[in-house]
């Protein structure tokens, strides 16, 4: 009740002040008052009551019609108060959800964490940024001694929580298939069966799986409908599509995936990405692969990690800092 009295006293004072002289200062005081009232979550109907009470004090002799008019105002504002309370309650719920999402996102980082391997002769840069809090893109490295570096990049069609949940499954399916690790087509075929059996029909996953043989410097790869990467031939300074054909994971459990090969020379680069990179939407529509190439070209002399960081920064700016899809880009560069 004390709070009410002080609010009432404050309001009355402001009103009186304004009636005496219609100053901007009194109006500013009213604005300050509304800040306090909002902070205290005072609903609008109570403000009407403050006004009426203050008026009764200051000008008790007004005609009855004026006082009756307040009843209508009070009734209308009570409905607004109804909405005001719902808004308050929704804000609280939103705060809770945000906290929960943050925790979930941390859990996801831990679950899906992979470290970029340090390999003599091969420089690797990788960056994955979710559009919302949870990431539906996924990349994973396996460094198999002197033999090979394996890289997986996957993208769930869709984003947010459903995509992220789905990705956790992929990660565990991959972890439980060590014997297949070496052969890209076998990896995709097993994952395809897992996805087909365990994932809702409306959800599809694209994936690129590559095995870089360190002794022969050959990249063996297969793709399940994933956005084609680029192969950069250092000698000719040209970009080629790292084309590989294959059906998305989860469509047909009997899908076979063809294995492709690419010999890698010193100075060559393998550039892998999710469609969040190529479907980066600007004011002029999607960026073209050529445009993307020109961005990559600008930083081509830099170490791979710096290239991916800079490309992300540029494309983020191009989209006015609003990612519409999860964004993942990986670059492998043979240095000797």
């Amino acid at each position: 009740m004390n709070k009410q009295e002080t609010l009432e006293a404050q309001y009355s004072k402001i009103l009186q002040e304004y009636m005496n002289n219609q100053s901007e200062q009194a109006l500013y005081a009213a604005q300050q008052f509304s800040r306090t009232a909002l902070a205290k979550k005072v609903p609008p109907e109570e403000i009407i009551s403050l006004q009426k009470n203050a008026m009764q004090q200051l000008m008790p002799d007004l005609s009855p019609e004026v006082w009756h008019s307040f009843d209508i105002l009070l009734e209308v504002m009570t409905a607004y108060g109804f909405a005001f309370r719902e808004h308050q309650s929704l804000l609280d719920t939103q705060k809770e959800l945000k906290n929960e999402m943050e925790i979930a996102s941390n859990v996801q980082d831990t679950l899906l964490g992979t470290s970029v391997p340090t390999v003599d002769g091969l420089e690797i840069g990788a960056l994955s940024v979710p559009a919302k809090q949870m990431n539906g893109d996924y990349y994973h490295f396996v460094h198999d001694g002197d033999h090979s570096v394996n890289v997986a990049i996957a993208d769930v069609i869709g984003k947010g929580i459903p995509a992220a949940l789905c990705m956790s499954m992929i990660k565990y399916a991959m972890d439980s298939l060590p014997e297949y690790r070496k052969d890209p087509s076998a990896v995709l075929e097993s994952l395809n069966r897992v996805v087909e059996q365990n994932v809702d029909d409306s959800m599809f996953i694209t994936m690129f799986y590559g095995m870089y043989e360190l002794r022969s410097n050959i990249l063996h790869f297969a793709s399940a409908g994933h956005e084609p990467g680029f192969f950069y031939r250092g000698k000719d300074k040209e970009f080629l599509d790292l084309e590989a054909r294959g059906l998305l994971l989860g469509v047909d459990k009997n899908t076979k995936y063809k294995r492709y090969e690419q010999a890698v020379e010193v100075g060559d680069m393998i550039i892998l990405m999710s469609d969040g990179v190529t479907e980066c939407r600007t004011d002029e529509g999607f960026i073209e692969r050529e445009t993307l190439i020109s961005y990559i070209n600008e930083y081509i002399e830099l170490p791979p990690q710096e290239i991916v960081n800079k490309i992300f920064r540029d494309l983020e700016r191009l989209q006015h800092f609003q990612l519409r899809d999860d964004f993942t880009i990986i670059i492998l560069k043979r240095t000797k």
């Binding site: 009740m1 109907e45 109570e46 009407i48 009551s49 009426k52 009843d71 009070l74 009734e75 009570t78 409905a79 108060g81 109804f82 909405a83 309370r85 719902e86 309650s89 929704l90 719920t93």
Partner: protein
């Protein structure tokens, strides 16, 4: 001590009668104008739910006196289709998308106590109380 008066809700005009009943009791008990407006808004919502979703029902007003504390209880009763998922209608924002159970969380927030009982096929019993401070 409970004294109950009821209004049958069959059409939209009965909502007005229910409001009038609630306002009279609230005034007699000494509720201020703001609380009167809140109580009648709650009555409106509950009576409208009966009218829209159950077709017919009753809205009763109790005068309460517990341990010297006076209060007003709204009871909304119907034998309509009932609410299969009460938790859902008590979610904010549900009314705007679903239609059923419009504004029940809002009614709960306007009042001090709120209780809902509903079985599909049997009807709904909602009780909401406001205490005089």
């Amino acid at each position: 001590m409970e004294i109950q008066s009821c209004v049958s809700i069959l059409n939209e005009w009965d909502i007005v009668a229910a409001r009038q009943l609630g306002r009279n009791v609230a005034k007699e008990l000494g509720f201020g104008t703001v609380d009167q407006a809140r109580i009648t808004t709650a009555i409106s919502e509950l009576a409208r739910n009966i009218y829209l979703y159950a077709g017919e029902g009753q809205l009763c007003i109790d005068r309460l006196n517990e341990n010297g504390k006076a209060g007003l209880r709204i009871i909304a009763l119907d034998k309509g289709p009932g609410i299969p998922d009460i938790r859902k209608v008590m979610e904010d924002g549900f009314s705007t998308s679903g239609g059923l159970g419009a504004g029940l969380p809002g009614v709960r927030r306007l009042m001090d106590d709120f209780n809902i009982d509903s079985n599909p096929g049997e009807g709904t019993d909602i009780r909401a109380t406001k205490w005089l401070r």
